[in-house]
């Protein structure tokens, strides 16, 4: 068990290291380097100054050298300075991470709860009208362009009904709980609709698979009510494979958050990454992308851990080796 966990952690660390090099290399291919940007914003910088600055910041060195310098700085706790925010990267990153966690946490829980319920509901009567209807709406949720959904929600709730703000985060002086909450409502709805479809389909497939097992027939034969069979016996086992697939979807959820946050001007990680890439703020983009990768890896690790905890069969085989 400990050997398994440590090897997984080691693997994740290795992946993160490789990704950091890949992302660092990609940032080097972005248009314009910091000195070019400095020259374009300050006409007094001469070409000698530029050359001197390049040497000073080590920009004339090969990319591997620069990467190693950056890496050693990171390990000493120096993540660099954000150009567009004029703050250390960490000071920009942490509030955004908090905002995104709220958004992702809320929509992820909502989507799982909804997906599990409708999945079971559909699977309890497979190939019925109810099943087809759930399937249709699940497909619709998967297929709807997330940015268009966000625009439609703005159109309905902000333009036509005028009950919710079209974007932003928090009023200047909030007068009640609603003033802070109302900015989260539309982003959460939009992100939930975008992910609930696939969660429903996973749950439905896993339920149908489980309901075909022998022990379900036994449970029915010994006279348990359909409700007991469905929730007491089938649901717990069907949830197992769903945990893994849903955790793999975490990356997709983050991608969804990027779109949602950008459209609703919600100050989270996704919007920050987008703005950082668009605004040539490469220090920030680099660390934020790594943090997003790191979050996904941690999500996957947690799901694997949850799987081991939830499924005694795996735990037993793990102890034997």
């Amino acid at each position: 068990m400990i050997a398994y966990t440590s090897s997984r952690l080691l693997q994740a660390g290795l992946v993160l290291l490789i990704m950091s090099f890949v992302i660092y290399g990609l940032m080097g291919l972005m248009p314009g380097d910091p000195i070019d940007l400095m020259i374009s914003s300050d006409p007094d910088v001469t070409s000698e100054d530029a050359a001197r600055l390049r040497t000073l910041y080590g920009l004339d060195q090969p990319i591997t050298e620069r990467y190693l310098n950056w890496l050693s700085a990171v390990f000493q706790g120096d993540l660099g300075f954000s150009r567009s925010h004029a703050k250390p990267v960490l000071d920009v990153l942490l509030p955004a991470l908090g905002a995104t966690s709220v958004l992702l946490g809320l929509s992820f829980s909502l989507s799982i709860a909804l997906g599990v319920c409708t999945g079971i509901w559909a699977a309890s009567k497979p190939y019925s009208v109810r099943d087809y209807a759930v399937n249709f709406f699940a497909f619709a949720g998967i297929s709807i362009p997330p940015f268009w959904l966000a625009i439609l929600l703005i159109l309905l709730f902000s333009v036509v009904l005028g009950v919710l703000p079209a974007g932003g985060m928090g009023a200047v002086d909030p007068t009640g709980l609603w003033d802070s909450v109302k900015f989260v409502v539309l982003p959460v709805i939009s992100l939930t609709i975008a992910s609930v479809g696939s969660h429903t389909r996973y749950m439905r497939a896993a339920m149908i698979e489980t309901l075909r097992q022998d022990y379900i027939r036994t449970a029915k034969a010994k006279g348990l009510s359909p409700r007991q069979v469905l929730y007491g016996h089938a649901m717990r086992n069907a949830l197992l494979p769903v945990t893994t697939i849903v955790a793999l979807d975490f990356g997709a959820l983050f991608s969804g958050a990027l779109i949602t946050e950008t459209i609703f001007a919600y100050p989270g990680m996704g919007k920050m990454i987008f703005d950082a890439i668009m605004g040539n703020d490469y220090n920030l983009a680099l660390v934020a992308l790594l943090l997003a990768t790191c979050m996904t890896l941690v999500g996957n690790l947690l799901a694997d851990g949850a799987y081991v905890v939830l499924d005694p069969r795996i735990r037993l085989s793990g102890e034997r080796t």
């Binding site: 291919l29 249709f136 297929s143 439609l152 990027l258």
Partner: protein
């Protein structure tokens, strides 16, 4: 041949016909296929519509902005006074072309990776599958945005490519294809693993067939069904991704219209012209859901085991 068929009780019905019959039973899939055909034909008819309506898709007319639907402009005009219907049709050409091309490239790449990994096995298999898992688990969109924002002149490509007017088109095709191959690769690998120890593959081996020949002539034809299904499903996802990137201003560049970039301005104009925000999104939605239903129908039709369950 027919006597053999009769003795087997199949009365001369080929596997293909059976699959086709099963597909016809999936009504949503059939309707979706018709819908996709209609969309493709509609997109191809753009120049005809342009002539019939006597308008120019690129002609800016600032006096005719946000015109209501009339006979001359069935869906009205946009913020620059251009005909919305014709722009949507031209946008469809671009979006559908990108979707189909990138899906095919992704399918070829995924098939190659899956075949190699499954057939070679061992460490190479492990490496390729780790790579695939990695791409699946990554938060895709931020990386796609980085790739779309790269300065391609720093990649050392020939100048003729960098200054090609269609460069944004090629670029978006490559970018979305880069991430659309993973499902195909996994399915093909699984199929190859189970096929490579079958008697007919062993027989080919004994006959002295090369590895390449075994992979392409003996294994690949048996995997056409899963590849078709996953390519259809990937096409939906790829059209969705293209629209997202174009919407964010990183994909197809205006004035070339695509369903994604037609929505770029829609958010700012939402108060003046809400209907402009509806049409392109609706078309993307219909296309993607149709691809998914066709994929679902193909899955049922080509894999009868799924129905028996």
């Amino acid at each position: 041949m027919s006597t053999l068929d009769h003795s087997l009780g199949t009365s001369g019905t080929s596997a293909g016909t059976l699959a086709f019959r099963r597909f016809l039973k999936h009504r949503l899939a059939v309707a979706s296929l018709l819908m996709l055909t209609a969309l493709v034909l509609g997109a191809m008819a753009a120049p005809v519509a342009e002539v019939l309506l006597d308008t120019d898709a690129k002609q800016v007319n600032l006096f005719g902005r946000f015109a209501a639907p009339t006979m001359a402009h069935p869906l009205g005009t946009d913020e620059l006074g251009r005909d919305v219907l014709v722009r949507l049709m031209y946008g469809g050409q671009v979006s559908l072309f990108v979707g189909a091309t990138a899906a095919i490239i992704a399918a070829v790449f995924g098939t190659a990776v899956g075949l190699l990994a499954g057939y070679t096995g061992g460490r190479f298999d492990n490496l390729l599958m780790r790579l695939t898992d990695g791409v699946i688990a990554l938060p895709l969109l931020p990386f796609l945005i980085v790739l779309a924002a790269l300065d391609i002149s720093k990649l050392g490509l020939p100048v003729s490519i960098i200054h090609d007017e269609n460069v944004s088109l090629y670029r978006i095709i490559v970018i979305v294809a880069l991430f659309g191959w993973t499902t195909t690769a996994r399915l093909v690998r699984a199929g190859t693993l189970s096929l490579k120890s079958r008697p007919f593959v062993l027989a080919a081996h004994a006959n002295g067939a090369s590895s390449l020949r075994i992979m392409l002539v003996h294994i690949l034809p048996n995997l056409i069904s899963p590849i078709t299904v996953s390519t259809t499903l990937a096409m939906g996802n790829i059209i969705l991704l293209e629209s997202v990137l174009s919407f964010l201003g990183l994909g197809i560049q205006p004035p070339t219209p695509s369903w994604g970039n037609l929505l770029t301005n829609a958010q700012e104009l939402i108060w003046e012209a809400p209907s402009l925000a509806c049409y392109p999104g609706l078309l993307i939605f219909v296309t993607v859901i149709a691809c998914n239903f066709v994929g679902d129908g193909l899955q049922d039709a080509l894999d009868p085991r799924a129905l028996e369950k």
